[in-house]
Each structure stands twice: as structure tokens, then as C-alpha cells.
């Protein structure tokens, strides 16, 4: 039991990183980025090939995937989203746009890299620390710590920089941010870039924690969406708490009923939260 909870917690840290980019984008722009999962997988492929070709550790390729994905995010946002502005169904249209983007990238990944299951295999991925009866997998512990460090950095950025203040203002009230002089276009572009960079970091970690293939991104997306709905759409704290909670819960479900059913935990939690408290644990009522 305690062992299961430990395994859940170290995974939960990584989920939190995966979910943080998604929830940030929703908070700032009310965009649900359905391409978040596929961008993670894309980053995982970058790490994979850097590992195979250059022998680069995923923690090192993270330094490449993050800026690369930041740039991709900025370009995607600048080229695709302004064309939808002025549409009276902006938020719906953006969801569909990211949906279309996810399909295109999924197809391209599948075409170039096929559906073979892959993963990077640094030594620590298969080792564990022992604490008496209990053990902690090293790879997952490192991944979790790196995730929490990145989320901490994001939190510092949002709370202690001018740009961060502007982004936070934007999440609370768009008009208000505009009239106090936040450059909304710029803040949105940066947020999109950061969201993608976080997806990039998550992808690098994913590359040694899990096996991956192109079509897998929908499962990841659904998992992440249930985490951020539970935590409250747009809330960073909610994403972290939701991730830890559900990761532990699904680890328990997995140990009781078999690993096949552990994804069901996420979907059922999603529906349960929609029934009981649609705004999630830490969310705004208006967001739902």
C-alpha cells in the first residue's frame, strides 16, 4: 500500500509538469490545447533521436526540446490564431484548430516514425533506491524532481517578473489587463510558447519513463485534461494537486484491479467532478 502510494506520487510529479502547460494556456487564453499531447510526443521523439544518435541523456536533450518547442509554440500562435480573432465563437474555434493541428502532427509522426513503441534507456531508468522494504524507482524520482523544479520556476516567473504579472492579470480578467496596459498579444504569445516549452520538457521526461508511439497522444491528452478539470481549469496549484491525487488513486486502482483499468480512474474522476463540482477544486465558476 505505502509502496503503491510512493509509486503514484513520483508519477504524479511528472503528470503535474505535463498538465501545467495545458492549464496555463487555458488560464491565459481560454484555449484548450488539444495538441498538447502530440507536442509532448514530438518532443519525446526529439529526445529519442538525440539519445540514439548522440547518446544525449534525456535531461540534457531537455535543454534542446524546451527552446525548440517554445519557438514552435510562438510560430503556431502567431500564424494560426490571429486569423480566428473576431470570430464570435473564438474559444470553440481555437479548440477545433488545435484538434486539426493534433491530427496533422500525429499523422506526420506516424508517417515518419511508424507506430513502433519506443523509449530512451538511460541507466537510471531501470534502477531504484531501496529503503528497507520499500523502493523508489530512480528514473521516476529524478523526473518528478525535475518537474517540480520546473513548475517552481514557472511559479516564480509568474509572481516575480513584470511579464509574469501581465500574464497573471490576463488570466484574471482580460479587459482589465488590456486597460491597465498589458500588451495582450505579446503576453499571449509568450504564454503559448511557455506552454509548449513545458510540453517539450514533459516529452523529454516521457521518453524514458514510458514507451511511446504517435497515436498514444490522445490517451495522454485525456489523462491530462482530467487532471486539470479536477484541479480547476486554469489553476496551476490545481494542476499539481489534481495530478498527485489522481496519480496515487490510479496506482491504487491498478494494484487492486489490474493495470488495464487504471486509465478508467481518470475518466471516472473527470465525470465525477463534472457532476459534483464542475469548476474543479481550485477553479473559477465562470471558467466552466
Amino acid at each position: 500500500m505505502i509502496q503503491t502510494i510512493i509509486l503514484g506520487l513520483v508519477l504524479g510529479g511528472v503528470y503535474a509538469l505535463m498538465a501545467s502547460g495545458l492549464t496555463l494556456l487555458f488560464g491565459v487564453m481560454r484555449i484548450v490545447n488539444l495538441a498538447h499531447g502530440v507536442f509532448m510526443i514530438l518532443a519525446a521523439y526529439i529526445s529519442y533521436f538525440m539519445f540514439i544518435e548522440l547518446g544525449a541523456d534525456p535531461f540534457i536533450s531537455l535543454v534542446v526540446t524546451m527552446p525548440t518547442m517554445f519557438l514552435v509554440g510562438v510560430l503556431v500562435y502567431r500564424f494560426l490564431f490571429p486569423r480566428l480573432e473576431g470570430n464570435d465563437r473564438y474559444s470553440e474555434m481555437t479548440v477545433l484548430l488545435t484538434f486539426a493541428l493534433a491530427l496533422v502532427i500525429e499523422g506526420l509522426l506516424g508517417y515518419f516514425f511508424t507506430g513502433i513503441f519506443r523509449s530512451t534507456t538511460p541507466a537510471y531508468a531501470t534502477e531504484a533506491f531501496r529503503l528497507g522494504e520499500l523502493f523508489i524507482p530512480r528514473g521516476q524520482l529524478y523526473g518528478s524532481l525535475a518537474s517540480l523544479a520546473l513548475i517552481g520556476a514557472l511559479w516564480l516567473f509568474l509572481n516575480y517578473t513584470k511579464t509574469g504579472h501581465g500574464i497573471r492579470a490576463l488570466t484574471q480578467n482580460r479587459t482589465a489587463a488590456e486597460i491597465v496596459g498589458v500588451n495582450v498579444r505579446r503576453a499571449s504569445t509568450i504564454s503559448f510558447g511557455i506552454g509548449m516549452a513545458l510540453a517539450g520538457a514533459a516529452g523529454s521526461l516521457l521518453s524514458f519513463l514510458f514507451t511511446f508511439f504517435p497515436g498514444q497522444h490522445w490517451q495522454w491528452l485525456a489523462l491530462l485534461l482530467s487532471l486539470i478539470v479536477l484541479g480547476g481549469l486554469g489553476s496551476l496549484l490545481g494542476a499539481v494537486v489534481g495530478s498527485l491525487l489522481l496519480a496515487v488513486l490510479s496506482a491504487l486502482v491498478s494494484s487492486w484491479f489490474g493495470s488495464t483499468w487504471s486509465p478508467l480512474t481518470f475518466y471516472l474522476a473527470l465525470f465525477a467532478i463534472l457532476l459534483i463540482r464542475p469548476q474543479g477544486l481550485f477553479g473559477d465558476k465562470e471558467a466552466v
Binding site: 480578467n173 479587459t175 486597460i179 491597465v180 496596459g181 495582450v184
Partner: protein
Amino acid sequence: MFLQIDDVTAGYGSGPDILDGLSLDVDEGRTYCIIGPNGAGKSTLLKVICGILSPRSGSIRFRGEEVGGLRPDQLLAKGICFVPQDPSLFPKMTVRQNLVMGAFLENDRAVVKQRTEEILEQFPVLGERANQAAGTLSGGQQQILLMGRALMIEPRLMMIDEPSLGLAPQAADQVFETVAGLNAKGITVLLVEQSVERGLNVSDWAFVLDLGQKRFEGPSSEILADARIGELYMGKAPTIE
């Protein structure tokens, strides 16, 4: 000329022109009231001047410089600020933090701190609630906070859209006192107000808008007395409860 609007047209999305070749001139240091029936384009005019909405054609000159189509943050840096009618505070931030956000464009922390304290002192309603979340304030207090926040950049031109909307008469009186006080600071005020009598009472000069054009202008006191205008526009305009 302080602010010169010349033949401006504007509208939302792919919709029709709400402002339809509107022209008007504003002098420095006075308070103006804009009145007219629903859909006349009053709020749209303010949004165009502050940059939330871009004009489709025409020119907007502020202190001799063409400013039409600039972003809100660029206009704010020139001293043009806007207090919209929909609640646009940061509900989860405290009163003090909202004021600090008002000076988002000011990079000198000491200046920001000093101005924040000044405003908190000047408006006791805010000073007493400095550490309360803005979302918990009453409607009238929120309106005063909005104006206090706008003052943080020491604006030259302040545009206020329907400050008394949804307020109880007593709270509205308090808000209008604040509006009247702005003039004493040398700030030019453009006020849109559904409650025409109140709006005319605090202003020097009034513009009467209809169908996106200026129909009439004159000293507020004269318009208040003019039965013709009253019949045409005030009667139509719904007053607040």
C-alpha cells in the same frame, strides 16, 4: 487641439458600422458628457479612443499626434485611460494589488508605491479595504477602485463608461463626487452616462450622439434646460433604478 476625432467609422467583427463618420473636438481640462439613445455608439467611441477597438477609417489625433489604431498599452503610455462599464477588476487580487497593477507601465517601484499610498489615502473607502480581495467589494466601491486604479498612471484623458450602472442612488452619488473631483486634478474627462441628468450635472459640455454621428453639442447646463433635447434623447434613454 487636445483630442480631435475626424470622420471616424468603427464596428465589431464583420458587423455594420456603429460609428458612422463621427467627428468631435475635445479641449483640455474640461469634463464632457456623451449622451444619446441605446446603440448610438457612445461606448464604441470610448473603445476606439482607448484602442480596444481599431477604427475602420478616419483619424484620431491626441495632442497633435495621430493615434488611431494604436494598441491600448501604447495609448495608456500617452495618458489616455479607460474605465469600462463591465466589471474589470482583478477579482482575486487585493485592492492594493489592483492599484499596483494600474501602474503596470510604470517601472519605478518607488513611484508606484508612493502613488498607491496617495490613492489609498485620498479614497478612504479603498484605504480601509486595502488588503481585501477586490471581488468582495460592493458595486460602488468597485467603481471607485476602478477610477483609483486608472489614476495610477496619472492620465491626461480619462474616459468613463456608465459609472453608475447598476448602483444604488447613494452609491452613485459617491461615484459622481469622485468624477467631479477628477477635473480639479486637471484631468480631461469623457463620460458616458445613461442617467442623463446626473451626467449633465457633473459636466461642462455635452455631445449628443445618434446612429453613430454627432447630432448636437453645447454647454451641459443649456442642454439640461432644452426641452427639445430632453424629449428626443433623454426620454428614450432608460434611466437606472
